[in-house]
Each structure stands twice: as structure tokens, then as C-alpha cells.
Subunit: 148 residues, 2 copies
Amino acid sequence: MDVVDSELHLVAAGRLRTAGQRFTANRRALVDVLADTPRPLAVHDILSIRADLPQSSAYRNLMVLEHAGVVRRVSGADGFARFELAEDLMGHHHHLVCSSCGSVQDFDAPPQLERAVARTAERVAVETGFGIRDHHLQLTGLCAACSR
Amino acid sequence: MDVVDSELHLVAAGRLRTAGQRFTANRRALVDVLADTPRPLAVHDILSIRADLPQSSAYRNLMVLEHAGVVRRVSGADGFARFELAEDLMGHHHHLVCSSCGSVQDFDAPPQLERAVARTAERVAVETGFGIRDHHLQLTGLCAACSR
DNA sequence: CTTTCTGCAAACGATTTGCAGCAGC
DNA sequence: GCTGCTGCAAATCGTTTGCAGAAAG
């Protein structure tokens, strides 16, 4: 476990404590699995990486972690819930979604695009009364495996 | 029913026919409900607008319409599937999602932003081997009702 | 007539929850 | 010890499917 990991653990523990929750072994396992993967994972994926985690605890703890602001839920193209670390822990990024197999991959946008999105978000907020918290670009298509 | 509606019906009928399907009353009803709403609808919403549609037929026909390219499935923030008319029937647009109640609202992006997104999509396609078909910007926050 | 569609009811499957025992503070 | 966490098994609920009859062409 390197410095970045232990920092991540400290932040996670702090946010859980603030939410009146403990940072248990199961929760640490979930955070570690998500930190090790450059894409959002479905519960099924998490369970196949860490077969020792019981399903119900995984679901329950992902909800706790989401509520504590450690984890973010991402809705994929298929009906499966996917999870990744919260953006302030992972870094801001966007998603590439395969419309055939539902897999999701992270990518970054250039600063110019980020600025253009921010300007539009501000305009839309004023026009609609929405309090905009965050934005997210999704590119949809066929992943390399599915287009073969 | 005005000219635009009847054109929509003709296009829908044509795409269904191409897919070996008929344009029945139930399917017309689904297309009409979606055409009348400036936001994607969950099945629950559709059924409360058209209470005469049986659930199973609604689900089955939405699948048929999606497969025929008349309707597009949008995954919201909550776990509910939402549907809207295909982009070439509706016009290109983006979504504003309320993270509290899950509601979705359409909005348009300025051409400058669209161009910036297109450029990035092209770059990402080359870098990842993804065949990118379409893109979609999602702004997340609290809708006017939920932030009160 | 043949093929597709419909509507009911039953099945499915991802997710959630009740509960009795265990663990952290 | 009290409060929260775990893991099992059962319940939930959006969605899908089998089937017998109705409708379209």
C-alpha cells in the first residue's frame, strides 16, 4: 500500500466517520477494488474480483459509501448499477459506453472542452433554476471487442 | 394531428415495416406520448398518461420501437429505464438530471460546444478503438422543485 | 389463412431488507 | 455493554416471458 492508498483510506475513513459510520474491512475492500480500476464496476464485477464479499454486504456498503460521498453511482447502458470512487478522489473524467456490451471506460477531455461545458452549464442553470453540481460527457458506440 | 405528427407516424411506420413489424394502435400511442413530452419518460410515467396500455405491452413495444430505431432508451440517475424518440426524430439535445428525484429535462448546447465535443470524440475514437456513434452531455444537480 | 400482436399471469433477476449473531468503540 | 456491522435467506419490484386468443394483411 503506497502513500496515495493510505491517504485515500484516511479520507474515506473521515467521510464515513462524519456520516456516523465505521471504516470496516469490507468497506476498505470495496474502496480498494474501485481504486484499482480505471472504469466503473458493476456489483457483479466487484464480487468476481473479491469473491469473499457477500452480495448483500457489498450492496449495503456501496450504499453507505455513496451516502458518505466516497463512492459514486453511475448508470450504464445496460440496467446494471456501476460504481466508481467519487470524482474528488478519482479526478474529473468522462465515460465511453459500449452500447452492445454495456462496458464503460474512462477518458479525459481537453481543458478547452471543459471550459465550454462549464460556460454552458452556467447558462443552463440560470435558464432552468437547476442547481448544477457536476457534469459528465458520455460517448456511446461500440467498443473494440464488440465491433469485431 | 398536424403535419409534423403525421410525418412522424409515416417515419415510424416505415422503420417498423423495415424491421418486419406493424405500426399498431398501441405503438402509435407510445410514439404520440413520447412526441408530446420534452423529456424522457419512465414506463411508469407513460402508463399514468395512458392508463389503457397494459404494462407488458408497453415494455414489449418500447423494445420493438427501440430496435426499429424509433425510440431511444436513456438510463436515468435512479434505476428506472426512460425512453424518448430517437435523436433524428427529436433533434439532438442533452439532459439535465436531478440527483434527488431522478427527473430528466432536455436542453440544447451551443454550436461551439457541439464542435468541441465532436473534435474530442474523434480523438478518443482513434485512441481507444471505439466506434463512436453519438454523444451526450449530462448535467447533474438539483431541480428547482428539489432544491426548495 | 398465416403471421404478428395483445393481455393476462407467472417467471426472472438485480437489489433490498429482516433478523440473529459478531465486532468496534 | 451499546451501537453498528455482517451474512444468510427471504422479500421486493422493475422488467421479461409463455401462452392462448385477437387482429392485421
